[in-house]
Structures are given as structure tokens and as C-alpha cells.
């Protein structure tokens, strides 16, 4: 197990360097002079330009600047926005809310998704099965912002069950609707994966054996079938997480959740390039890190993965 962890962590290192390098190169290739942009319609003097270039290391070459940038990220210094706010502060303020929203969404998608997948897998070909397959198809097709708007309009405005936008401090009850919307897309994948894998497990010899020796369904289904069907769902959590990041940006913008995604949305609309890049970098790093964690978890769940020879 320890070697599996070491190998997987080592594999993550080039991905970390590569992805930050790509983001850095994209920004480096950006047209226009950032110093002139800071001055707006005024013209800076030669000395001012030189001083600012030295301050922001713009006089250094490409690779030196990349490592300076990397050093800043690793030390947790994410720079400032155009307005002079520290991105660290913004993230510290907004991250907890996004974390709560994401956790709620993951819990909803796992509970509802696994239950629906289990039932439709056990009763393959039944009405419930057909209905869930159709609903998941629709959920996969409807873009998250459409779903968010429709939910906001229907539950928030037409029925008035919940507040259409999230209030001060983002209390849990306001986060439920955004979390359901955020969970919906991944839920469809969870349902389908669970269903497929339940159908497969259900035909395994050990399940027939369990029925044969007279175990009750109440024991076979959770212990024998469900546990063995969870592996593909766990693997897919990594892909889910990518969808979750993008989905959170959209959902937070629509429901006005004071989270990281909403901050990114505002930065995009202010054309605040430094803030956009900082937030995207952090999200990508979090994504790489979560992928690593999920892979390690996968190794814990499925011993076969640990012993694969390269």
C-alpha cells in the first residue's frame, strides 16, 4: 500500500507542474502590456515603468518568472486584484461557503443517486427502472444554468417555497436548492453507474450463494451487493468533482451564493485578469489534489489496483 501511495503521489507531481505551467503560459501569451493597463489613459514615465517592471519581475525571462509564480503559489501568496484586494483574503472569506455547498451537493447526489441506482438495478426493466433512465437522460442533457434558473423560478418565485437567492451568511436552508441543482447532473451519472454495477454484481456467484444459503434480502442487498457495487461510483467521484467545480461557479452566480465560484463570476465580468487567473489556478490545484486523494481511496477500496504491475 505504501508503494502505491508513493507511486501515485510521484505521478501527481508532473501533473501539478504541467497544469500550473500551462495556465502561466496562457497568461504570458496575453496580448497587451500590463503596466500600461495599470495606468489607464495616463502615460507613465520611463522610470515608473522600470520600477514597476522590477517590482513585478517583468524584466525577468519566461522560466524565472514561472518559478517565481510557482514559489508564490506554494507559499500561499495569490496576489492582488486590480482593485488591490488580496486574493488570499477573498478566498478565505468565500471558500467555507463553497465547501458547504459542495458537501451538501455530494451528500444529496450520493444518497439519492445510489438509492435510485440500487432500486432500478435490482428491478431491471421495471417501471421505476425505465423512469429513472429517462430522467437521468434529461438531467444529463439540461445545462446546469438552465436547471438552476428553472428551479429558481419555479420553487423560488412561482411556489415561493424557498428564497430565490441566498441570504446573508448563507444559512443551510438557503443552500438546499442550489445544492440540489448542483447535485442533479452528477446524480444522473451516479444512478447509471450504480445501476450497471448492481446488475453485474447481482449475477455473481457469491450473491447467488448468499441467496442459496438462505440469507435475507435485508442482509444481501446492503452487505453483498451494494458494497461491491460502490467501486465504480468511487472512481467516478474524480470526474464528478470537475463537473462540481464548474457547476458551482454557475450555481453560485445564479443563486448569489457568496462562494468562490461567485467571486470568479464577478471577476470575469469585471475583466479582472489577475483575480481570474489566481482563482482558476487554485481551483485546478484543488482538482489535482482531490483526484490524487480519490485515487488513493480507490486503492484502499480495491486491492487489485494496488498490485497492478507497471
Amino acid at each position: 500500500m505504501i508503494w502505491y501511495i508513493v507511486r501515485r503521489v510521484l505521478q501527481g507531481i508532473p501533473v501539478f507542474f504541467g497544469s500550473t505551467f500551462i495556465i502561466f503560459s496562457m497568461v504570458f501569451a496575453m496580448p497587451g502590456n500590463p503596466i500600461l493597463r495599470m495606468f489607464g489613459d495616463r502615460t507613465p514615465t520611463e522610470a515608473q515603468i522600470a520600477a514597476l517592471e522590477a517590482k513585478f519581475h517583468l524584466d525577468q525571462d519566461f522560466f524565472t518568472r514561472y518559478f517565481l509564480y510557482l514559489g508564490d503559489i506554494l507559499q500561499g501568496n495569490l496576489g492582488t486584484t486590480y482593485a488591490g484586494q488580496s486574493v488570499n483574503e477573498i478566498l478565505a472569506r468565500t471558500f467555507p461557503t463553497t465547501l458547504r455547498l459542495a458537501l451538501l451537493a455530494i451528500i444529496i447526489q450520493l444518497i439519492v443517486g445510489v438509492l435510485a441506482g440500487l432500486i432500478s438495478g435490482l428491478r431491471k426493466g421495471g417501471i421505476f427502472d425505465h423512469a429513472t433512465l429517462l430522467i437521468t437522460l434529461v438531467l444529463i442533457s439540461v445545462p446546469v444554468f438552465v436547471l438552476a434558473f428553472v428551479a429558481q423560478w419555479f420553487f423560488g418565485i412561482e411556489l415561493g417555497w424557498v428564497r430565490p437567492t441566498v441570504g446573508q451568511g448563507a444559512p443551510w436552508q438557503d443552500l438546499i436548492l442550489p445544492a440540489i441543482v448542483l447535485a442533479a447532473l452528477n446524480m444522473a451519472y451516479v444512478v447509471r453507474l450504480t445501476r450497471g454495477s448492481v446488475i453485474e454484481t447481482n449475477q455473481m456467484d457469491f450473491v447467488r450463494m448468499a441467496y442459496g444459503k438462505g440469507l435475507s434480502r435485508g442482509r444481501i442487498i446492503p452487505v453483498h451487493i451494494l458494497r461491491n457495487s460502490m467501486i465504480p461510483v468511487t472512481t467516478n467521484l474524480a470526474a464528478d468533482f470537475g463537473i462540481l467545480i464548474v457547476g458551482a461557479t454557475v450555481t453560485e452566480a445564479i443563486f448569489n451564493v457568496p462562494g468562490v465560484g461567485n467571486e470568479l463570476f464577478k471577476a470575469i465580468n469585471r475583466h479582472d485578469m489577475p483575480e481570474i487567473v489566481s482563482i482558476v489556478t487554485i481551483l485546478v490545484i484543488v482538482y489535482v489534489f482531490v483526484n490524487l486523494l480519490i485515487d488513493l481511496l480507490y486503492g484502499v477500496l480495491d486491492p487489485r489496483i494496488r498490485y497492478v504491475k507497471k
Partner: protein, 319 residues
Amino acid sequence: MSRSNPVRKAPRYVAEIDEGGLGAVDAVRVSDRKSNLWLDAWRDLRSRWMFWASAVVILFIVFVALFPSVFTSVPPNDQCYLANSDGGPEPGHPLGFTKQGCDVFSRIVYGASTSLSVGIIVTVIVAVMGIVLGAFAGYFGGWLDSFLMRIGDIFFAIPYILAAVVIMSMFLHERNIWIISLAIGFFSWPATARILRSEVLRVKQFDYVMASEALGLSKVRTMFAHVMPNSVAPVIVISTVGLAAAITAEATLSFLGVGLPNNIYMSWGNDIANAQQSLRTNPMTLIYPSIALSVTVLAFIMLGETVREALDPKARAQR
């Protein structure tokens, strides 16, 4: 076995074993219909309503995208009068007006071509990059394989919408269909490359590949002539679903504010984002483009799904 088909026996050089039941097993029925992966898939597809439904919807959307003026005589952006702001349906304007007083129906009709163009360009970029890189990695193996796949891992680690957000933020003033398609496509090829690579690894063990090299064809020629055509089937499936994802991505980027400029391109994502202001007063301006977008995406996903099941003998047998 009452059909009187001409039966050709496989030649035997040892002994006649059995003229009865077992012999029939070895017999090749010459008049049997020709069969291969694509023919089988087509026979399966044409018997399924989901295939026909999605095909009809897609053909209809393609027709709308090519000839929008057949469906509406109102130009999408020219006759926006604030007097019509949030107006209801009236003759000639079946779906009413947006907050800016533009015709909703006309914007939806003209938006079809934007969505489809982005979808198709992204799909072509992703398919070409994915097929070429995946085939080289799988067929040549070795350090090239490791190198290409590690690059793929890196690109895979960046959610493509986030990458597109950065790219589109850089191109503030010259956003167009090509740039948004490149921004989406450039970060979504690794999935296709991985799938093609694993398929190439399977195909390259077949005898015809060895035969081709033994007969003197170069490795590259063999790859293009024999390995690639036999390993693209899964790419077709992922491309269909990818087209749907690209359409969603374009709409999402437009919604986030880094999409296509609203005054030049009709984009369903922009329409939906702009209708947000009228959510309380005129929700239908939001619902109509949402329906157009969702139905288009649904059609491509349904098509991809039916084609996947048709190409996969295991899935066909399970049904």
C-alpha cells in the same frame, strides 16, 4: 434447416467426420447476409425509436441552422424597439419580446447556427487531435506513448471550462466562433486520445496488422491504413456526446460572460443570461431558449447513447 440454401462445406483434409448434425455447424451459408460491425450496428439502430427521434430532431436543427430565414422573416437584432420591451406574443412574433425589445423566436432560430457551428468545430478539433495523438501513442508505444499520455494527463487535470474562461478572458475584443471553439477543444482531447489508444492497443495485435508490415508497408502507413480505421468506432460515440458537451460549454461560457459578443452572434447562452433580469416579470423569455438548448443537447446525447449500444455487441445482447 429446411431452407434450401446452397451450402459450401469447409474443406477437410483429414476425414469426413459426420454428415449429420455436426457437419452443419461447420458449414458456411454463402447466401447469408453480409455482416460486419457497421452493418450490424445499422440493423440494430434502424429498429429503435430513440435513434429515429434524435436523428429527426438533429436534421431539423441542422435545417434551421442552414436556412433560418425559412422560419422567421424578422431579423434577430435589427428591429429591437424598447417600446416592445418584455412584450407578449403578437402576430409575427410568436414568442414575444426580450427586455431589449428583440424578437425571442427570431433570436432562437438564428442561435441554432452558432450552437451547431461551435459544436461541430470543437468536435473536429478534438477528434483530429485525439485520434492522431492516441494512435501514435498506442501504435508506437515506448517513450512516445509515455510522453503523449503524460501530456494528456496534464491537460486532463484542467477542467476545460476553467481553461476556456482564462483563454476567453485574454481575447476580450476579438471573440468569435473559432476562438471559442479552440478554447473549448484544446483542453478536451485527452479523453478521446485515451479511448483511441486503448482501442489501438487491442487492434494492433491482429494478424492483418502484422501482415501489412510483413508485406512491406511502413509503420506509419500501416497505422493510417489499417489500424486507425479499425479503431475509430468508440471515438464516434464519444464525439457525438462531445458535440453535445461543446454546445453546453459554449452556452455556459456565454452565460458566464466570456462567450460570444451578444450583438454579433445569436447565442442561446447569451439569451438565457440576459433573460435573468426578467425572471420575475417575463420568465418565458428564459424558458424558450432553454428549451431549444436542452432539446438540441438531448438529441445528440440520445444519438450517442443509441450508437454506443448498437456498436457494442455486449450491450445489444443485454437488452
